[in-house]
């Protein structure tokens, strides 16, 4: 709080007083700071605002030069045209299905693996852990060719499983979750075990409830990552009706060429689902990044 106000020159005791004065007459430095901050934030919103402004113009006005921000004849025609074609709805559904698959599977397998590494000793454990953590170094994009051949052999091209399965391999989440589990005191689990609970039961009813923040963070970031993944779904879907939202927007929309209001309307529609997720989970996202960063 004091960082935003002028520090008292004499002593720290009069802080409350200083703060009330500052509220009435902010120092020039504070005014400048807030002005710069507000301008930067507004500048950051320009691309999104421009996309929205373009999308509600009649198609004939979009190419006017010099550009205008506000149209005298706002219209939702571009949105109706895009939605009427139907493919963007289909792509959104595809994204929702494949992304949910990725998120659920990732959470299950990563939590199990992290708990196994955190709590149990077994033959070859250090080796296996090193092997999995080493996978963080490998850029997944370098494996696209053999992964694609594998998917062809498994007959999973143009299927939801084909889109989802290779994305489930996320060694970094095993690492993050293991570190979180390591920090949970084992006394609770010992108590549950003495009551006769098996290892899966202990994980489910003792460890997972204590891990809600990290599970939420991993879940949200898996979801965002899978939703926005482009390269793999782009390779493994060839039929337009199987494309995910980013792939459909990236490949098919280019074909609409100069109908800028429609192109921007589809961009806005493509942005909406995750912006909603972001607004709903803003706090979890912020603390999730914070937790990963500070401990990292």
């Amino acid at each position: 709080m004091t960082t935003a106000t002028r520090p008292p020159a004499t002593s720290g005791a009069s802080r409350v007083e200083v703060r009330t004065t500052a509220r009435r007459r902010p120092a020039p430095g504070v005014i400048a700071l807030y002005t710069v901050a507000a301008l930067a934030a507004l500048l950051w919103l320009v691309p999104l605002a421009w996309a929205i402004a373009t999308s509600i113009k009649p198609e004939g006005e979009t190419t006017a030069m010099p550009p205008t921000w506000f149209t005298a004849n706002p219209t939702f025609e571009a949105y109706l045209n895009v939605l009427g074609r139907g493919d963007i709805v289909r792509w959104t559904a595809n994204s929702l299905i494949s992304t949910t698959l990725v998120t659920v599977l990732t959470l299950i397998v990563c939590v199990l693996a992290a708990y196994g590494f955190s709590r149990f000793d077994f033959r070859g454990r250090p080796w296996l852990f090193a092997l999995i953590i080493g996978g963080i170094l490998i850029p997944p994009q370098t494996l696209i060719v053999p992964q694609f051949v594998l998917m062809t052999q498994l007959g999973l091209v143009d299927t939801y499983w084909g889109i989802a399965l290779p994305q489930v391999v996320a060694p970094v989440f095993v690492f993050i979750l293991k570190r979180f589990f390591d920090a949970i005191p084992r006394d609770y689990e010992d108590a549950a075990r003495m009551d006769g609970a098996g290892p899966v039961r202990v994980l489910w009813s003792v460890v997972l409830p204590l891990s809600r923040p990290i599970l939420t963070a991993v879940g949200i970031f898996t979801f965002i990552g899978a939703w926005n993944n482009f390269l793999w779904p782009f390779l493994v879907t060839t039929a337009p009706e199987m494309m995910t939202l980013p792939v459909g927007l990236g490949t098919v929309m280019g074909g609409y060429g100069i109908q800028y209001a429609q192109v921007m309307a589809s961009a806005v529609l493509g942005a909406v689902p995750l912006l909603v997720v972001f607004l709903l989970f803003q706090r979890h996202i912020v603390t999730g990044v914070a937790g990963a960063g500070i401990k990292g």
């Binding site: 004091t2 960082t3 935003a4 002028r6 520090p7 008292p8 020159a9 720290g12 710069v36 901050a37 930067a40 934030a41 919103l45 691309p47 421009w50 996309a51 373009t54 190419t63 030069m65 010099p66 550009p67 199990l112 693996a113 708990y115 590494f117 149990f120 000793d121 077994f122 033959r123 454990r125 852990f129 092997l131 170094l137 490998i138 994009q141 370098t142 494996l143 696209i144 060719v145 053999p146 694609f148 391999v169 095993v174 390591d182 005191p185 084992r186 290892p199 482009f230 939202l245 990236g250 961009a267 493509g270 995750l274 912006l275 972001f278 996202i285 912020v286 914070a290 960063g293 500070i294």
Partner: protein
Amino acid sequence: MTHSTTDSTRTVTGGAGDASHVVVDVRRRPTTWTGLWFVLPFLAFYLLFLVWPAIVGLGYSFTDRSLAGGPVSLVGLDNWNESLTDPALYDSLWNTLVFTLLSVPIMVLLALGLALLTDHARRLGWFLRLSFFAPFVLPVAVMALIWEWMYNPSLGLFNGVLGQIGLEGSQWLFSEDTAMFSVVIATAWWQVGFNYLLYLAAMQSIPKDVYEAASIDGAGAWQRVGRITLPMLSRTTVLITVLQLIGSLRVFEQVYLMTGGGPNFATRTIIQYIYDSGFVGLRIGLASSMAYIFMALVVVVSIAQFRFFAQKED
């Protein structure tokens, strides 16, 4: 490595009441198969979709296998020779390096600047966080569509505004000289939010009394930023730089969507060249050798970075 440290800490911290129990529990933890069952599902995915493709891909690089099918024969080191003597491969590596060298400093410093603003302008906190982070959740295709439209040389917002204030516009994505830089600017807008949140979290975890003590000693706002905030953020800066460098080397999607690698291949990154060779040129063997050359470079850079920064931290 990691688990042994944890175990010994556990022995120390847990040794309050009945130390003997803890020591038995940890040191002679029974070696059972239970842990392996937990690890098995992940391991199955990992082996099938990462390890196996990595092995198979290495095998492909010694064959003339085509994506179109047809007979496959061993060709020895031909693909590796062709890749390593291909000027276009070095061009694409160079383009990737240019993107990395431009984007890393911009995305680290910009994140720091925006986080400092947010940390000081507390009353605008939620609005600033929303503006700076929101682009991060946009699909790459959305970001590319919007920026292509703003960069449009004859109809776009940027040249329109420049024209209004009497300046000459730029060709942006359509000139070899400016295309990569234009992509970097768009990328910074899109992705800086993640680094920004990391910085912001680190800043807000600095104890308040440190600042108060400095204020009492008469340090001004700038001095407090320079003498307290920045030094205490050095670990975070290292982390962000490492992550950003590794991330930037893997660049592909936004460049591919915004420029297609052009004009005249001036922005074709190495991953696009692997894609072009394998999925457009259908030469799986050749593409695999390129993928391995790039993978080796990334692994070397990553390990070198970790060792360098690990030494520095000690």
